[in-house]
Every structure is written in structure tokens, then in C-alpha cells.
């Protein structure tokens, strides 16, 4: 193998491509293994707390060996994970496990000694490999991630060219890993924020600068499904009643403009004028989102958040939570919820099948347990717990 600029450029490209799309990891390992004349390659992770090793993107140059599926190799590998731990421990002891570091098998122990280890015999040699080289891309208390390649078992150690190539690729592995880490973390944080929004009993839509809907939470979807008044048409929100639609669009546009100018907006909720047959009373309110600083290369810039609330929907508060919070009995919780939902004692009694007098007695106990003295005070307490404590999962 001769490493010229063109080959180097190709391999570096593969590394960053794998950072950009998770699926490309296999292709990256394959390309480096074949082009640099290795016998096999893989990304190896060690969960340091649980002392669990696992292998990803495994590729073997030998066609016969490759017939075993990656799953089979993973199983073989897992059987040897204890043996591998020995090697991990030596590497750690020799302070080789450091992000950015590249080392060969011979840095751990002389090859003849390595060949006698169980891991080498039962896993590495099975893959047709002998000497190997690793680049550590991450190393902290939680995980070690290493990209590893094995030299063919032909009695010769790794060539100088192969070692040189891996040392040249090392900073690129690290930068690519850093990019992948940022992508993964941002995605997870976004998903957890979305999950929080999904737990709300209010519809929430996030709109881009061109008013396209970028996100809607579960309640938002429910509102769209349950009412024919509001729908998403060509990616933007529409109301089928012209006057109300104008109102929505004006609100949204004002919020988008405010976001663009970085201005605060005097926002006001608006109730849609819907015919009674629709069976819903929708209140909408648009807020501007602060824009990120700097020139954005992102395809769609979020600019507006729209709340949609269906007034005919009772706030949902599971009885069990209320009972847990204030140590209420089931019937006390039922009465407390009735009051919070704005019902009269007579209505609650009828619903529960109690007499009004019994209901009043129960309510008195609820007052005592919740440290409240009036129905509106009780309603305020329960409603301030918030309708988010509704299990939407």
C-alpha cells in the first residue's frame, strides 16, 4: 500500500461522512480496511462503569470469514469480553487510553505473549488478524471508543505505512467524533424538549419563518384531528372560516415579524369565531421566538410558537396523583376534582351517587387535608398543579 494524497483524501472523506450519517459507519470501516490492506476493522466501545465491551461496524477482508453475520461475530466477541478486558486493563495501566492516542498491539505486550492470550486466540485469530492498531476517539469515566484495525496474520507486524496512515487519520477520527457527539446530543436535547411539550394538555405548534409547521405536540395533533375548523394545508396552519383564518394569519405574521426584528411583542390571545356545530371553542396565541445569533445555515429557522387551547376540554388531572399528593381517599379525590372542574356540589353528588349532605362532609375533609377553606381556593390549588400531570405516555 502506498498512501498518496488521493487515497488519504478519500479515507478522510469516509470518516466525516460517517459523522454525518450514522449508517455510513460500516462503509467507513470497510473502505479503510480494504484500501490500507488490513485484515479487519471495527469500532470498539467499552462501557467503563459496567465493564462491558461491544463491537460495531465490524468488517473482515476475508470473504469466507465475512460470511458469518456481524451478529455472529458480536456473539463470539461478547464471549471473549472478559479476555478483552485484560487487554483494556493493560492499555489503561500503560496510560494508552487517552483521546487522540494511537497505539499498536506491541505497545501493550510483545506479540508472542499476546498470541497466548485467550482473546487473541479465540477472537482475533479467528478474524484472520494478528497485530492490531487502535485510535482512541473518546475516553472518559463513562466510555472508551476506539477505532481498531487488525493486520493480516502473515507473520509480519503492521507496516510502517499502515502505522503512519493511522496516525495521520487520528485527528480526523477525533474531529469527526466530536461532530457526531454534538449532533447526537443536540438531537437528544431537542427530543426531550419535544417530549416535555407532548406531556402538556395544550396544543403547541412551532413554526418557521415562512410559517411552515416544524413541530406539533400530541395535543396539537389531537386538536387538528378532533376539529375540522383547523388544519394544516401545504405545511401551514389554516382555519376554514375566513374571518378566523385572517386572525390567525395576522397573529402568526406579527409574531414572525417580531422574531425577525428581535422585538418584544404585545401578544393577545384570540378566540376563533366558530359555528356552534363545530363543538369546540379554540383559543390561539402566537409568541415570537428569539432568533439565534449569527448567520444561520439551517434550512428552516423557527420563528414562532403557537398555543392552541380547546376550552371545551376539561383539564385532565388523574385522580391517583391528587390522592397521592394530599393523601385523599378515592371518593375525596373525586369530589376535589369535581370542584376543580367547576361543578356544583349538587352535580358532583349526582355524579357520585351520594347525597348532597354526604358530598358536603367529604368536601370538608378535603378542605382540611389540603389546607383550603373555599371551593375556589381548592380549585386554584388543584389547577395550579397543572394539567401537565396527566399521563400522556
Amino acid at each position: 500500500m502506498h498512501v498518496d494524497d488521493a487515497l488519504f483524501s478519500r479515507l478522510v472523506g469516509q470518516i466525516y461522512q460517517a459523522a454525518s450519517s450514522h449508517e455510513h459507519g460500516d462503509e467507513m470501516v470497510r473502505a479503510i480496511t480494504l484500501e490500507a490492506g488490513f485484515a479487519c476493522g471495527a469500532v470498539h466501545t467499552e462501557d467503563r462503569k459496567n465493564k462491558v465491551n461491544s463491537v460495531h461496524n465490524l468488517f473482515t477482508a476475508d470473504g469466507d470469514l465475512a460470511k458469518a453475520t456481524p451478529g455472529d461475530w458480536q456473539t463470539t466477541f461478547n464471549r471473549q469480553t472478559h479476555g478483552l478486558q485484560e487487554l483494556c486493563d493493560i492499555s489503561e495501566h500503560k496510560r494508552l487510553i487517552e483521546a487522540g492516542h494511537t497505539f499498536c498491539a506491541t505497545d501493550l505486550a510483545p506479540l508472542p505473549a499476546l498470541r497466548r492470550t485467550q482473546f487473541h486466540r479465540e477472537y482475533f485469530q479467528q478474524l484472520g488478524a494478528d497485530d492490531f492498531i487502535c485510535t482512541i476517539v473518546r475516553s472518559d469515566d463513562d466510555y472508551t471508543i476506539a477505532v481498531c484495525f487488525g493486520a493480516p496474520a502473515n507473520g509480519r507486524p503492521l507496516s510502517n505505512e499502515q502505522q503512519h496512515l493511522m496516525k495521520m487519520l487520528a485527528p480526523h477520527f477525533q474531529r469527526a467524533y466530536e461532530m457526531r457527539r454534538r449532533l447526537d446530543e443536540q438531537e437528544m436535547e431537542r427530543n426531550s424538549a419535544w417530549q416535555s411539550l407532548d406531556s402538556l394538555a395544550t396544543g403547541i405548534f412551532i413554526l418557521a419563518e415562512n410559517a411552515q409547521v416544524l413541530f406539533q405536540n400530541v395535543m396539537g395533533e389531537e386538536i387538528l384531528e378532533s376539529s375540522t375548523a383547523l388544519s394544516i394545508h401545504q405545511g401551514t396552519l389554516h382555519c376554514r372560516y375566513a374571518r378566523s383564518n385572517r386572525r390567525i394569519q395576522t397573529q402568526i405574521q406579527a409574531a414572525i415579524d417580531a422574531s425577525r426584528q428581535g422585538a418584544d411583542m404585545c401578544w393577545a390571545p384570540t378566540e376563533l369565531e366558530l359555528p356552534e356545530a363545530e363543538g369546540t371553542r379554540l383559543i390561539l396565541c402566537a409568541y415570537p421566538l428569539r432568533r439565534a445569533s449569527g448567520r444561520s445555515h439551517s434550512r428552516a429557522t423557527p420563528a414562532c410558537m403557537l398555543f392552541a387551547h380547546d376550552l371545551t376540554q376539561q383539564p385532565q388531572l388523574p385522580r391517583s396523583h391528587l390522592a397521592a399528593l394530599f393523601q385523599l381517599t378515592p371518593s375525596e379525590a373525586a369530589v376535589a376534582l369535581g370542584v376543580a372542574h367547576g361543578l356544583s356540589i349538587e352535580d358532583i353528588a349526582a355524579l357520585q351517587g351520594h347525597s348532597v349532605a354526604t358530598c358536603r362532609t367529604v368536601l370538608k375533609r378535603v378542605f382540611a387535608k389540603t389546607d383550603t377553606g373555599r371551593q375556589n381556593e381548592l380549585a386554584n390549588l388543584i389547577l395550579s398543579l397543572g394539567s401537565h400531570i396527566g399521563d400522556r405516555q
Partner: protein, 386 residues
């Protein structure tokens, strides 16, 4: 070579090193200057985003003035842009040499060449299309002052090699920025909620806290975030809090269903209402590439805070008078009519009449019903900006 490619990718996560990258390319190829141009393929206009000149004597201000001058004079009028679009040269990863557009002698006769290129002392140029998506294209252009074969075969080869990397780097930059802005928008939306919300990672560290959470933590002496962990000074409450969070994180990490329920933290002994907390597990992906895994949502509610809808909102929505809105709010916040009358300096009779008008205008019949209406609206209509 390795460093040059590295810098191309470094620009994706750190745009501020763009000048270093352009400098490195110019040095490697013996070129004099570089520009980054954004082309609007629909409008057929172009905007110069930045300019680099391989001359330490040229100040940042001079460069900014040159960029502004170009955008004023040539943004609508750059025949090269037109030619590139017509010839279909603006394809991601493509390298464009001037003869791909028009033979050099002809180029030299164009007004654009005379009025812009020559003014900078440029003779020839080459461009790399880093991204093109049907609506816009970004090109990175290099210019040379040397008249004799400025783009040698070796230089051409290097530029072609860089092109693929620049295209990929730009895709990565877009991915990074798109994820960042969508994440920020989602987190900002959480600031508008009326209750506190924290996102914790698998080690109980706070990854995010929304505005109400900050307010609750700031206003409660017993609550504190220390070393990125939410803590309570009172041992009993601290234990409850820790149990809630640990249970949710365990459920998240091991994918086991959780029977969760909210709990109360007594933070003072002054007979005030406590703070309610409730932890939910977040399923984690377990990607070894991420340093922190969001594993738990923690909801906080200060049961003392008045949560009613602001008065001006009530006035707008139900056409109430200011006094009626005030009374509606007092009732929603759980106070008695006597208390409201006293606070507003009215007789009980006047207050009662007013409340009746509020009932009529809001379509309610009882105090708890009015409280329910105002409170459920309040959850929706929390002001975002101070």
C-alpha cells in the same frame, strides 16, 4: 494536506476559523484572495458573505468595505452567476474554473471583469460549489494575480480534491445548525410554560431548566443547584426529591415501566403551600457518542404562586372592565369575595354585583367554575417576555 482538509471540516463547527482555512488554501496554491458567495438560484442574485486577502496590510474594515461595495454594485449584476446557472455548473462538490464559464480572453472584455476583477488586480479565478440545494448555492472562490497559468495541474487537482470535502463539511454545518436551532426553539417554548421544568441527565445533572424553574429555585432558600445537581437543604425533602429522580432515571436506563406519582416538598415551616415535584423517565438511546443522556423530566410547581390570567388578558378576552377583571382574578386565585371587596375598597354588595356581571360575560355560574376557566387559560397564556 491533512491539516487543510481538517480546517475545511473545522469550519463546520467553528465558523470563526473560516479565514484560517482560506489562508491555508491560498498559501498552499500560491493564490492571493478568496471570497465566499451565496447565490439565490431563483432570484438570480448573489451576495458576498466574506472576503479574504492574503495581505496582512489589508485591515478588517477595508475588507468589510470591499464586501459592502461588491454587494451594492454586483449583487444584481454578475454575469458569471448567470452563466453558472445557465450552464448548470452550480452542483454541490463541483469545481469551476473560469474557462468552464467563458474563454478567458472574452471574460477579460466584460464590464464586470473591468469594473471588479481588475480593480482588485485579479487575473484568473476558480470556484468550488460547497452546497447547492435547488434554492441557493454557496461558492468558495479563489483568485490569482499571476497572469501565467495561475491554476497549474497540481493546483487544479488539489482544488478538485478539496471540493468533495467542502461539500461534505457544509452538509455537516447545516446538520449541526439545524439541530441546534430546532433544539433551541423547543427549549424556548418550555420557557413559556407556567410551571418549572428541568431536564436531567443519567447522572442527575441539570441539562436544562426553564424560566419558571429558575424562578422557583431562586425564590426558595432551601432549593439550590450545586455542581449542576438540584438539591434541597432539608434532609426529608432532599430524600423525597432524590428518590423521585433516581426512580425515573432507573426506569429510563433500564426501560422498565414506572409507577410514578407526584410528591410534595415541604420547604418552609411557615404554613405555606409546598412545592410539588414529579419526575418522568425519558427513554434514552444509549448512544456512546453522547457525553450526557437526558434521562428524566422533573416538573416543579410552587403551589403558593398566583397563577391567574393577567388582568389585561381577561379584559381583552371577555370584554370585562378593569374592576371586573380584578375581581375575576381574585376569585381565580382562591380568595374570598369579602377579601376581594376589602382589597379593592368596595362594599361586599358592589363586589357581588360585579361578580354577577363577570359570570354573565364569561358564561360561568359559580366561583369554582370561574376559577377553573381562568386557571386553565392561565396555563396557556403565560407571557414569554418580561
Amino acid at each position: 494536506m491533512s491539516q487543510l482538509i481538517g480546517l475545511a471540516y473545522e469550519c463546520a463547527s467553528h465558523p470563526e476559523v473560516e479565514a484560517d482555512f482560506l489562508h491555508a488554501v491560498c498559501t498552499a496554491l500560491g493564490l492571493d484572495s478568496a471570497t465566499v458567495i451565496l447565490v439565490d438560484l431563483k432570484q438570480r442574485t448573489n451576495t458576498m458573505l466574506s472576503m479574504y486577502v492574503d495581505d496582512p496590510g489589508v485591515s478588517k474594515e477595508t475588507l468589510a468595505a470591499l464586501v459592502a461595495d461588491y454587494n451594492r454594485r454586483f449583487s444584481q449584476f454578475n454575469p458569471l452567476t448567470e452563466i453558472c446557472i445557465d450552464k448548470g455548473l452550480l452542483v454541490s462538490g463541483n469545481t469551476i474554473f473560469s474557462e468552464d464559464m467563458v474563454p478567458h480572453p472574452m471574460l477579460q472584455r466584460t464590464a464586470f471583469y473591468n469594473e471588479f476583477f481588475q480593480q482588485q488586480g485579479w487575473y484568473d479565478h476558480a470556484g468550488i460549489v460547497s452546497i447547492a440545494d435547488g434554492k441557493t448555492a454557496v461558492t468558495i472562490n479563489f483568485a490569482s494575480k499571476a497572469e501565467t497559468y495561475p491554476f497549474t495541474p497540481a493546483a487544479r487537482k488539489l482544488l478538485r480534491m478539496l471540493a468533495g470535502h467542502l461539500a461534505r463539511a457544509h452538509t455537516l454545518r447545516r446538520q449541526l445548525e439545524t439541530r441546534r436551532v430546532t433544539r433551541d426553539a423547543a427549549l424556548q417554548s418550555l420557557d413559556a410554560l407556567t410551571f418549572g421544568l428541568l431536564i436531567l441527565d443519567h447522572k442527575r445533572k441539570v441539562l436544562f431548566q426553564n424560566r419558571p424553574a429558575r424562578e422557583i429555585i431562586d425564590s426558595n432558600k432551601a432549593l439550590d443547584i450545586r455542581r449542576r445537581e438540584l438539591r434541597c437543604d432539608l434532609p426529608r425533602s432532599q430524600k423525597l426529591l432524590k428518590d423521585q429522580v433516581s426512580m425515573a432515571i432507573d426506569a429510563a436506563l433500564h426501560g422498565i415501566p414506572m409507577h410514578w406519582s407526584p410528591t410534595q416538598l415541604d420547604l418552609q415551616d411557615t404554613g405555606q403551600r409546598p412545592v410539588a415535584v414529579c419526575a418522568y423517565p425519558l427513554p434514552t438511546s444509549g448512544s456512546p457518542f453522547a457525553a450526557a443522556h437526558p434521562a428524566c423530566l422533573l416538573f416543579l410547581r410552587d403551589l403558593n404562586a398566583e397563577q391567574g390570567l393577567p388582568e389585561d388578558q381577561l379584559i381583552d378576552m371577555f370584554e370585562l372592565t378593569p374592576a371586573e377583571a380584578r375581581i375575576a382574578q381574585e376569585i381565580a386565585n382562591g380568595y374570598s369575595l369579602e377579601h376581594a371587596a376589602e382589597r379593592m375598597g368596595h362594599t361586599l354588595g358592589t363586589s357581588r354585583t360585579m361578580l354577577k356581571r363577570v359570570y354573565a360575560k364569561t358564561g360561568t355560574n359559580r366561583q369554582n367554575e370561574l376559577a377553573c376557566l381562568v386557571m386553565s387559560l392561565a396555563g396557556l397564556l403565560h407571557p414569554v417576555s418580561e
